[in-house]
């Protein structure tokens, strides 16, 4: 594909609901990252996938957050029982290999009411 794509672009949900965010990386990119960007703050690392290796989940803020990736393709980030503090832009990035430049998608803006 031309670049990293994410869907939906915007998501408004009620507190307590579950949400699922999708990321389609650039074809052939083996590494995939999720970041969170809160208003007025820099990006925070959430989780990293590399091929079939176990993901690095060290950045997930709580057990309400989880993510999956099918092979070297699509990834989904799931937030269960959303809280207002989960409101942020969630950005996905992919890179051709682990030690290479990361290319970012446009993000999903999540608003929890």
């Amino acid at each position: 594909g031309a670049g990293v794509s994410q869907s939906p672009s915007n998501k408004v949900t009620e507190k307590g609901k579950d949400v699922e965010l999708r990321c389609d990386p650039i074809s052939g990119h083996t590494a995939l990252y999720w970041y969170r960007q809160r208003l007025g703050q820099g990006l925070e690392f959430l989780i990293y996938f590399q091929g079939n290796s176990a993901p690095d989940k060290s950045g997930l803020p709580s057990d309400r957050f989880s993510a999956e990736r099918t092979g070297e393709s699509v990834s989904t980030l799931t937030i269960q029982r959303t809280q207002q503090e989960d409101s942020a832009v969630y950005l996905c990035a992919s890179s051709p290999r682990p030690r290479d430049t990361q290319y970012f998608g446009p993000g999903t803006r999540l608003t929890v009411l």
């Binding site: 670049g3 990293v4 590494a31 990252y33 970041y35 007025g40 703050q41 820099g42 990006l43 925070e44 690392f45 990293y48 590399q50 290796s53 690095d56 060290s58 950045g59 950005l91 990035a93 890179s95 682990p98 030690r99 430049t101 990361q102 290319y103 970012f104 998608g105 446009p106 993000g107």
Partner: protein
């Protein structure tokens, strides 16, 4: 702890004026450093990166950055700003590990360009 600091939250410059955005890092070893730009509704676009070698790095859109180990800085510069450069700029760094590179971002600098 590893960190990247951008001291300026907002900067306003006139079109055609020169620009310098500050970035300081704190790492136990020399990190790899990046500058990204984020326009409204857009994802992050890589402007330039420093891995090693020449400390003056050239990027896209006429931007450059200089790595200064003695000052722990990686400031972004442009000789003449264009109105289309108005955006938010993020400095990021990483110590590469065996598993990948988790970027640590600064809080960003919002650039406004006055015509």
């Amino acid at each position: 702890a590893q960190s990247v600091t951008q001291p300026d939250i907002h900067i306003t410059v006139s079109e055609g004026a020169s620009l310098e955005l500050r970035c300081n890092y704190s790492y136990g070893a020399t990190p790899y450093l990046f500058w990204y730009v984020q326009s409204p509704g857009q994802g992050l676009q890589l402007l330039l990166k420093y891995f090693s070698g020449d400390t003056l790095v050239q990027g896209i859109k006429g931007f450059e950055a200089e790595f200064k180990r003695s000052q722990s800085s990686f400031n972004l510069r442009k000789p003449s700003v264009h109105w289309s450069d108005a955006a938010e700029y993020f400095c990021a760094g990483v110590i590469l590990t065996g598993g990948g590179n988790k970027l640590t971002f600064g809080t960003g600098t919002q650039l406004k360009v006055e015509l």
